[in-house]
């Protein structure tokens, strides 16, 4: 359920980046103040383990299928929420870079969806709530399953909201929710079962590991409230700030969301002459655009963030196709040109 660059808008991506960076900075501060530099190699190697553990297929009883784990909750339990969150962040960073899972712009959203909810909501509120009276096999079982399911449900809902706010798809909210949440109910159940089995094993073999993660870390209700409040504030401020910037500044980030400038303007019928005069207007600083609302706009449904659909006449669509083809050809030509130049240079050298 990685959120992808192609589905996210700069506004949503940027806001989630800021939120994630805030949580990460807070976590780093926490770890530093605990003076627990022992945890750094542990976080690094456990991150690598989470990667490697994707190889393990756990057979799901009575279904014949198998699944693997995401590991968010497990990391929170074994390392504590702060170290767990940072570990997930670095795992997702490497996935975005090397495996093109997600993407760099969507990284903030992904870390938030998969890390924040399991480490800072599901772990402290649900898992720790159950374990408050000490570990038993039964409690580990229920706590893990409940925490995993709730963490994943929230993460999935995060994906839905981020996708919708980004406005790159046509999926109606209801359909999307109905699609995502049940799937993640199943995924969460598997995650919870495996986490429970692993935690039980570790609790029997080396209980001090679980105690170590739970102590040395003051996760009182106050601090979690503070984190949540700070986070909401940061998110709101950046969200509102960025939207304001985008709507007041036509050259801003969200230029496209409001107006599909180029195409709308080019639709003017006078051909070349008009094009050139447009070019002139555009080179001027902040030209005063006036956009014609396309006729079929009303049919688009009521969403305010709905962008204008350029009413394209036969003429413009032809030039669009011709131009597109030429651009592609040009790109290929550049590529071929550079590599043949290089080859010639090597040929001359050798």
């Amino acid at each position: 359920m990685h959120m992808a660059d192609a589905l996210i808008s700069p506004l949503v991506g940027g806001t989630m980046w800021v939120a994630t960076a805030g949580v990460a900075a807070y976590s780093i501060k926490k770890i530093q103040s605990e003076m627990d530099e022992k945890k750094i190699p542990l976080m690094g190697v456990m991150g690598a383990f989470i990667f490697a553990s994707q190889m393990i297929n756990f057979t799901i009883p009575a279904t014949g299928s198998s699944g693997h784990i995401g590991g968010g909750l497990l990391l929170a339990i074994l390392l504590g929420p702060y170290a767990g969150f940072l570990t997930i962040a670095s795992v997702l960073t490497i996935q975005a870079l090397f495996f093109a899972d997600g993407g760099l712009l969507a990284l903030g959203s992904n870390v938030f969806n998969m890390g924040f909810f399991s480490c800072f909501i599901a772990y402290p509120l649900i898992y720790k709530g159950f374990m408050g009276r000490g570990y038993t096999t039964k409690r580990i079982f229920f706590a893990s399953i409940l925490a995993a399911i709730i963490g994943l449900q929230m993460g999935a809902f995060g994906v839905v909201l981020e996708t919708l706010f980004s406005g790159k798809t046509e999926l109606p909210f209801g359909t999307f929710v109905l699609l995502m949440q049940p799937i993640h109910l199943a995924i969460g159940a598997v995650e919870g079962l495996v986490t429970a089995a692993v935690v039980t094993y570790i609790w029997n073999a080396r209980p001090e590991i679980l105690e170590g993660a739970a102590s040395g870390r003051a996760l009182s209700n106050v601090s979690i409230k503070k984190v949540a409040a700070g986070l909401i504030a940061i998110t709101l401020i950046t969200g509102v700030g960025l939207s304001w910037f985008a709507s007041s500044n036509p050259d801003g980030l969200e230029w496209a969301m409001i107006k599909t400038a180029g195409t709308a303007e080019l639709e003017a019928p006078d051909g070349l002459h008009q094009q050139l005069s447009d070019l002139q207007t555009k080179t001027a600083f902040l030209p005063d655009y006036s956009f014609k609302t396309p006729e079929d706009e009303t049919e688009l449904g009521a969403g305010e963030e709905e962008e204008a659909w350029p009413a394209i006449s036969g003429g413009t669509s032809t030039s669009g196709i011709v131009g597109g083809g030429l651009t592609l050809a040009l790109a290929v030509l550049v590529g071929v040109g550079i590599s043949s130049l290089k080859r010639r240079k090597y040929g001359a050298n050798s």
Partner: protein
């Protein structure tokens, strides 16, 4: 499992590629990172019906690809394995948006346009991320992150994760091999072994982390991570960045294919 082992080889391939010495490889990592981020932002900022305007942005990957002398096939293969999530979500668009639109005398559902637009964006963004890592490498990228004042703890931890992925993958693969040799005809790990198999791997991972921590302490580690000096940003690095950003901005503001197209059809007319 084979699949994951493949990604391990892929990672090593990218690592190898990053050790080449071309014009692009020699550029300052920070400038490459910033260029990539600007590129991604511009690509993603295009509206959902946009296809034509995105085409000029193809020029960036094409040029970097050729200048960096990267092999096209393995990287292209990775890009084609677009996240199923994107296709899954995108393919639904045609079902929800039946608005028809005429293109060259043919009717096309607008849903297909959005789908195509998503696919194109996905291709471009994925390529840009892979190009960044294939021309920079993890260690130099970590240096760039340090220059951006990303905290040491995070950078060090990121490097350690990257370093130990191959070690742990091999360890997990050995364990799974041992399991499957004694458990024929099982598709995955049976429920009864979930806890002990994964749990033991985790315990070993903890012990390894302890030994690594000791090895670090023996060489003077006190929680601080010291990189060597930073590479200097040359005028050339800066102009690379500025040049691309200028191009991206132009491509964003003007629909270049449309301009070219109208120019040509206009002339013909």
């Amino acid at each position: 499992m084979a699949n994951i082992m493949n990604s391990l080889y892929n990672m090593r391939l990218l690592d190898d590629l990053a050790r080449q010495e071309t014009v692009i490889h020699k550029l300052h990592p920070l400038m490459k990172l910033l260029t990539t981020v600007s590129y991604l932002t511009v690509v993603v900022s295009f509206g959902r019906y946009e296809i034509g305007g995105l085409l000029p942005l193809l020029l960036y990957p094409v040029i970097v690809f050729t200048l960096a002398e990267l092999p096209v096939k393995p990287i292209l293969l990775r890009i084609l394995l677009v996240s199923p999530f994107i296709i899954g979500i995108g393919i639904l668009n045609p079902f929800f948006d039946h608005q028809v639109y005429l293109l060259g005398g043919r009717e096309i559902s607008r849903g297909w346009i959005t789908f195509l637009s998503i696919l194109l964006k996905s291709g471009l963004t994925v390529t840009a991320a892979l190009l960044l890592i294939a021309t920079t490498g993890m260690d130099r990228l970590a240096g760039a992150l340090r220059m951006l004042k990303i905290p040491r703890i995070f950078v060090l931890q990121l490097l350690l994760t990257y370093r130990y992925i191959s070690v742990l993958m091999e360890e997990v693969a050995r364990t799974l091999r041992a399991y499957s040799l004694r458990a024929p005809r099982q598709k995955g790990v049976h429920r009864s072994a979930w806890g002990s198999l994964a749990g033991q791997l985790i315990l070993r991972t903890f012990d390894r982390a302890q030994r690594i921590y000791e090895a670090m302490c023996l060489r003077g580690f006190t929680g601080e991570y010291h990189t060597g000096g930073f590479k200097e940003i040359r005028v050339w690095d800066l102009s690379y960045f500025i040049g691309w950003v200028f191009f991206f901005a132009v491509a964003r503001m003007y629909n270049i294919p449309m301009l070219i197209g109208s120019l040509i059809t206009g002339v013909i007319r």
